[in-house]
């Protein structure tokens, strides 16, 4: 059993690399088809977001040319890594990334999709790759704050993630940012924004859903915060 697991690591690594290449190969015609379908529905907001993304990509690309490690505001260090494969099942609980202990990755490091936007946390580390638990894991509960007033709530993992235990007296609005306030992630790191507030009079608390600023199925690279916790 130990021998098979030992050799299994190399085979799984090769499988992950092959899956990543195959995913990239198949994603090109799929993206073309998807783009044609969406062409009629583009609006100014999407164009502005794409321009913003392009500027971020340009900054990241420039930094990659010199180093895989860079700072944000002199406080947190990020390491850019590729997403090897998404979870093969629909609960989307995990990602596999192609950085491991040899790259300085350790368990509990936060994982972001862009600077300050969190998607999960490293939970297992191998020598060359790591497993990331995402906020879609139904068993995960994280304290959060909503909006400028900092209304407290609890983020429950799932599809989509939900925010519960929001005080009925708290003023919250759709579109307000939802940020981390617990010990798992740097304070103020963003999960997304509030969408669809439920103020059912039968409940003691308000509830809301989390709207993500990214498409999870299109993630090809993430940033690991290497100097936290």
């Amino acid at each position: 059993m130990a021998v098979s697991l030992f050799y299994g690591a190399y085979i799984i690594n090769a499988k992950n690399i092959f899956s990543e290449r195959m995913g990239s190969f198949f994603s090109k015609p799929a993206a073309l088809f998807s783009g044609l379908l969406k062409a009629g529905k583009l609006n100014k907001e999407n164009q502005a977001l794409r321009l913003e993304n392009e500027s971020f990509r340009a900054r990241i690309q420039g930094l990659e040319n010199s180093s895989d490690i860079f700072k944000q505001n002199g406080k947190y260090f990020y390491r850019r890594t590729d997403v090897y494969s998404t979870y093969p099942f629909n609960n989307r609980r995990y990602l596999t990334i192609n950085a491991g202990s040899e790259d300085g990755i350790k368990p509990l490091m936060p994982v972001a999709v862009s600077e300050g936007v969190v998607v999960g946390q490293v939970i297992e580390v191998s020598s060359k790759y790591s497993l990331v638990r995402t906020i879609f894991d139904a068993g995960w509960e994280l304290p959060v704050r909503i909006g400028a007033a900092g209304a407290g709530g609890l983020l429950i993992g799932g599809q989509p993630p939900k925010i519960t235990l929001i005080g009925k007296d708290k003023e919250i609005q759709v579109g307000q940012p939802v940020v981390s306030s617990g010990i798992n992630f740097p304070y103020g790191f963003r999960f997304g924004e509030l969408a669809e507030v439920n103020e059912d009079t039968g409940n003691l608390f308000k509830q809301g859903e989390l709207k993500l600023p990214y498409n999870f199925n299109e993630l090809q690279a993430v940033l690991v915060v290497t100097n936290f916790p």
Binding site: G23, A30, T86, N90, T96, A138, N217
Partner: protein, 144 residues
């Protein structure tokens, strides 16, 4: 030749399941489950089926070692191989019924929460469609 084709088909399905190629509205079909259930109706040898099962679930592993979902999937697919011998239905119908049951049980034993119920329903629908297509393809290939 049929053995080679079935082996390549299962391996390819497992690799594709590790990508987002067939994701529709965030739902990914369980290609290993649908493939092996459909293939079980064209395989008599338990050892060959077990070999395909090993390839399929092993290639779904993201990390060395075994987790609950992989063990659950393997157990369900082995059960289907034996249950199909006593199923009273026509093979295509039996295949689709087993796909529905195996998908549902996979979520139950894998820790279904209310948050995943909509995902389960859509995955069952997707798996049934994919399973029917795979069964018809295998019927054409394996009947030659």
């Amino acid at each position: 030749m049929r053995f080679l084709f079935l082996t390549a088909f299962v391996i390819f399905a497992a690799l594709v399941q590790n990508t987002n190629f067939l994701v529709i509205a965030g739902i990914k079909p369980n290609l290993v489950l649908t493939n092996l259930i459909a293939a079980s109706f064209f395989i008599e040898s338990f050892w060959f089926y077990s070999l395909l099962l090993f390839f399929g679930v092993f290639l779904l592993q993201n990390m060395p070692g075994l987790n609950r979902e992989i063990l659950t999937l393997a157990g369900l697919l082995l059960s289907v191989f034996w249950l199909k011998k006593i199923s009273p239905w026509q093979p295509l119908a039996a295949s689709l019924i087993f796909i529905v049951g195996a998908t549902a049980l996979f979520y139950v034993f894998g820790g279904l929460t209310s948050a995943l119920l909509p995902v389960l329903i859509w995955e069952i629908i997707y798996n049934v469609i994919v399973g029917a297509v795979i069964y018809l393809i295998l019927r054409e290939i394996c009947s030659e």
